[in-house]
């Protein structure tokens, strides 16, 4: 309790995501990389015995972290420390072929990529889940007329399901980017100190095909289809930058969605679930604050801010590699994933418990309808032969007058009366009655939701 506790760890993120970026995951991956290196080298004809392989294989999980720490204090070199600790377990025979022809970047860079891949898969599954939840929500509320807002001013009618489909559209953007990243993702492979596979020229007697085989075969053993053909000591840090872009983009969606929820909760139209004993405010117990949405927005701001560090690193790597990426990479990539994980957990929680106050939504619609239907009135009037631009100007002036009256205390919206009395609109009471029907005034919102889900969402969810 006497040190900083990162709240992503103590409060917000899932155990699964925390594990991916844990020492345990990282260093067992190193051992898997060492073991599989030897295995593939043996397959390609290097003189490595089954006994050596077995001795490596059986000590993948049993890391003695205290011993590692001692070695690191001595060498001030993380890889050397783990190498010695592993070799101590695997024995002197295995020690001879351990780390053969490779350098730190083989372990570090490939492990980073493996962690990122696992983290992306976890994000993908949560994103799919959220998309499914919002799909249900959108279908359920596709016909529920509600006030739309532009400039935060009432503007025509939409439906709640249409609005939530807009959030879905944002998430589809993110999902497509995720698939793009994953389908292009490569293993860094085993390419030596500066990426030229120098040491393998020696080991494989100048046989480039063998060096390539080592690279791709090892990638496959570690779960990758492809390997970068071109690396320096490291894979291009542009990849990390693209990961932070993706996570920032997803954070932008989360920020936008929860801003909308916070606004609707202000209108009392929507409400986050409120636990029985939950205390909204120590001083104002009546309040129902959208605290999960606010937390999502807060985490999103953090994730978005990390984005620039990815670009800064990629842009300032010098020649075959400089180490001014390392400390920052240990902070920005894991925390951007943890914060995104936390945001997705919260969004799921919000939508699984959200309350829709239909009566309030209906009341809001009814009160504002005369105002927001001026476009329809205009359309009808134009259809009846009126001049659009002239009537547009008239309706603008009438609206202003009515508004003034309301501000001065009038309790009734007199707009309809003014229009009926103005013959240039060529409108009858019957025309107006037809116009003032909420179901008639949501445009094709419901159809759009159905069409969108059928054509865009469902193909994505198929087989998920």
């Amino acid at each position: 309790m006497d040190q900083y506790i990162n709240p992503l760890k103590s409060r917000y993120a899932s155990k699964a995501m925390l594990y991916i970026f844990s020492p345990k995951f990282k260093y067992t991956t190193w051992r898997k990389l060492w073991y599989n290196l030897a295995l593939v080298q043996k397959e390609l004809g290097i003189d490595i015995s089954n006994n050596q392989l077995n001795n490596l294989s059986k000590h993948i999980e049993d890391i003695d972290f205290e011993l590692v720490e001692k070695y690191e204090a001595k060498f001030k070199h993380e890889v050397m420390a783990h190498l010695y600790a592993y070799a101590d377990l695997a024995g002197d025979d295995a020690r001879k072929i351990l780390h053969l022809g490779v350098t730190s970047a083989y372990l570090m860079d490939n492990t980073d990529l493996i962690q990122i891949k696992e983290a992306l898969l976890l994000i993908e599954s949560k994103l799919i889940k959220l998309i499914k939840t919002l799909r249900e929500f959108s279908i359920k509320h596709k016909d529920l007329a509600t006030l739309a807002y532009t400039h935060l001013q009432e503007a025509q009618l939409t439906t709640l399901g249409k609005r939530s489909s807009l959030w879905l559209q944002s998430l589809i953007f993110d999902f497509q980017e995720l698939k793009f990243i994953m389908s292009n993702m490569c293993f860094r492979g085993v390419k030596g100190t500066i990426g030229n596979q120098n040491s393998f020229k020696e080991l494989f007697a100048s046989n480039f095909e063998k060096a390539k085989a080592l690279d791709i075969n090892l990638a496959k053993k570690m779960g990758f289809d492809k390997v970068y053909k071109m690396t320096s000591q490291t894979y291009d840090r542009k990849f990390d930058s693209s990961i932070l872009n993706f996570l920032s983009n997803l954070a932008q969606s989360a920020h936008k969605i929860t801003n909308d929820i916070r606004f609707m909760q202000h209108l009392k139209e929507l409400e986050e679930h409120f636990a029985e004993h939950q205390i909204g405010s120590s001083a104002m117990p009546y309040k129902k604050n959208p605290i999960y949405s606010e937390r999502v927005a807060s985490l999103a701001k953090f994730t978005m801010s990390l984005q620039s560090s990815g670009g800064f690193i990629a842009a300032t790597q010098w020649l075959e590699r400089t180490l001014d990426d390392s400390a920052c990479k240990r902070l920005n990539i894991p925390q951007a994933f943890l914060a995104t994980d936390a945001a997705l957990i919260l969004l799921d929680k919000i939508f699984n418990n959200i309350r829709v106050n239909k009566k309030i939504i209906e009341n809001h619609v009814k009160t504002e309808m005369p105002f927001i239907l001026t476009e329809d009135i205009l359309m009808k009037a134009t259809k009846n032969g009126g001049d659009r631009q002239i009537l547009h100007e008239k309706i603008r002036i009438y609206s202003m007058q009515v508004r003034e009256n309301l501000y001065s205390g009038a309790t009734e919206n007199g707009l309809i009366k003014l229009i009926l009395n103005d013959k240039s609109f060529r409108l009858t009471s019957k025309d107006i009655d037809e116009i003032l029907n909420p179901n008639e005034n949501i445009g094709f919102a419901s159809y759009q939701v159905e069409d969108f889900i059928k054509e865009i969402i469902d193909p994505i969810l198929k087989n998920k």
Copy 2:
């Protein structure tokens, strides 16, 4: 001369890119959108005459900007101003059907997308050109041994063509992202005030298929294959954010590449072209400064900084749209494209005139070779039966000693002697001679370059 002049305009960007973001391009596109709207509406059965269409069609190019200005002073509304000015030309008959069922966002958002698409195409062609240039450069220098640097310290040998292939790899990242964006790009379409195609429900007698047809047919007339099925008043601002991400990513590549060039020019290994009368410095005329590379790095910093504005806008759009995107969008998107355009022009200029000082490169290699071949010595010694970890420690200590001597004035690198004299290395003079051959010490660099170009670059360039 008494107002700020944006140097992207006066100094750096191409006329072609400046035109895409010009008033001329923008407002003729508006007129095309108005004309094609009427055209497709007619095709779908709306009562619009050929005469009305013709009157719109023939006034697409002849914008009277002074008249527009007058209307804008009056209405304080950009679209209204252009609408009136266009209608004045097209006549009262056409005026009646102009802008039928649409709102400002139809013009603004679709035009933004059209500008972005044109700008992406221009960037693509310049990027392809740069990739071709770097492909030639890489092939030409694929065997030219040069010192590699990690931590900005000499580290083994690479080849110049291998290094430039790393730059190619960065650009391939960007190219793939560009293709991804373009293949997913959609038209915003014609969907009314809040995206529900409200006005078209009326116009098309509740026929959703007709509203969809209007949307997609219009998109095709304006050069798009697809249309967003789900929009609010606007297309999702996440798209703009993704554009700024892409341009930032490309800027990161440009920054990294030119940093490398600047460092190589420091070593005198590479040199930007120097015009006959060019003055490097008013005070230090002997200097050859890599000013184009520096300018690219400078423009890249600007482009990278704009990235955050895209995310900020997307994250803070409220409900069906707020206008706090507009002024920023007029600044960040065009300028990010202009700065990228300028950077690509400069990179092309740099690589088409770059000078490679082979003798200097060779000298550097020769001087440092004994040091940088310690890994090979280690490999050979290990192969001859030595213990890798013990010898690694010894070679480290010897290297330190030799380095100390050199710092104290020694003129010869005594490392080889020390190693030959230490029997635990099990190495002969012949072993060492074999090791100290530059061509033997570039690993598979040349093969990698060939393989990379054949398998990755050439398929991309095919048909370009």
Copy 3:
């Protein structure tokens, strides 16, 4: 019309700010720097004639920009081009002593500082004006009870003047930072190629006091009190970074303030001025959109995004200077000032025409009062001997119940009844009546406003 037009120039910024960053201002400043250099050199004993000085002095304003362009095409060096053009006017005699001992950075860096200083002064005067306007606004509305919002949920009462004082507090932060920057601002001075005053050692026969005198005397002639004692070729780019920080900070205030206004305009409590013929929306003429506030928020996002470029430049300047600052500096500093200038113009416009709808504000207060006064009820009950924690829990439960009822269609807020009926609150009707008085429920808001203006604002405005 066939090139990109920067809207800061064509639409948003003032002529005064555009002039500060114009070629005219910049290059006449160069000539002033050249002239004053010679003048101070003469004062310090260098052999320069009055005739030479006069020839320089009389050609400060008459820049032949076409001639400059020709020279720049030839030399590809901006300073050389202007030097030749100036010398052509000043004659061969003056030419000999022109630019004596200095380098490009003398002109460029000092001019940048002079432009920044002028721009800061312009911002200061506009900021002072805005502070005065908000001071009046705060005093005028210091007693006007209005709903406060936390989490965007109704939360107790505040006053409009108190809320606007919060905006003032933000601007005071910015004002203090501005004063801090200006009081620490130094001239870069005249220090030669790498800042060591090399050439002046020769000119002044190794007399350091003379070199120092040249530096400070020249600074004073150019309007600065102080000169950096320590520069490389340039002044530390951290200064530029601090300017962008300041402008970003001010943008943050502007964004926060206008977000608040946009929210209040949503509530119809405040309203931006709406010109007679202004069109809010082509499709929804009744709407009154807070477009100036939205524009301020939009410009603020742009300014904030530029901030990172300042830090990136400062962090990546290598050794005595690299030129990867230049192109970016020509874009980020001027545009950050222009966007800030535009935002201040708009804020002034907003507050000079803002409409306060008191009746609406009062209605909102009346409707929500029973809910928001639960803390006061709690205080009174505690004072009457109740247990705070127990009653807090009870009031929470009652509030939830009442809220449920309201959502189910109840038209009256039953909270007060429930509390009066619960004896553990120990409250009488009289107690409640005392509590339900708006003027009694704004806390010390009015006093705070008075105190704040007297103690903090007025001392700042004194002598302004």
Copy 4:
């Protein structure tokens, strides 16, 4: 080992800084705030007994974190959980007056400010220490001639002490900003739910002077001189933004300084200390990599990226407060301080063990001198009556020629010969010999260092 471990905690930051942001520090501060609240309330006449105070006072340190956790699981409200746990210890008598009139923000916001203040003090002491170290370094090397670099090209001579004084100048910028922030820093104070001191109007019978006294007296008890006169529920988040600006600015200095060191280590002129058993690279044992400098640069990138989150939060706080600051504040502020703390520890380590390779520096100077002294040659020639512009052009052409020769294998720099042979330079061998003296070519570098330390640095360090 199965969760993410933040390396700032496990590897980089000091115990002292980690403690400031620990739960222990935070929650004992809450109790101090509760206790002192009661104490000052009593002093101002509220009926609070000594016994109640004593019961609060003696349980400040003994936090039962398990109990707190239980309450938090129940209430889902951090403050309530700690309130109950504290009251359980302090007893029912004290419970009645605990948290009297205050809300969560009283604890949270004031504690944030207290943590920031303590963290700033810790940074200040480390910054002072670093300034002292660099002061010594600068004095020691003020006369050591070394090549200056502009555009990363050799450019005249400077001294090592002059270069390190440039770093000092950067740090002085940061130090001044730190002092500015600290001198303006205020306590948030005790102002109730929305900042209007509502509850204290009741408690103090409408006596504003008493409410003000409570505010300022409490501030003083908690170590602050001033209190914000104007707050909403929270202090203005612009303050946090200014903290992140400061830490980013300091990171920019650290990045710039260590970039310079990395370049100099590349030149072998400077060298970070290398521990006896330290392993530079598992594959390239001879290398001496500037890994501490690289780590500083890496941490700096992280800190700089966090800056934007501060601005984003401040700009998007709505009305009297929204909670979308909280989660982000728990991540960005502590980590920016921890990363800065780590960078200062590393910088101190670097400079306390840095090795200056004087012989190498001297060799570099000797080799490049003929080239870099062209300005001096030009000055002398001008003094002897030559035309500056003509000779400038000539020397440029000669330099290019000589450079070409060197690139083609020439081993001697022929520039001086060419100049002596060209009579228009009017220079003798004796002139040239005078020019080619390193000590004569460092300008006033040494004087500047002395002057700067005496006039700028020492006054700052006085009494430190």
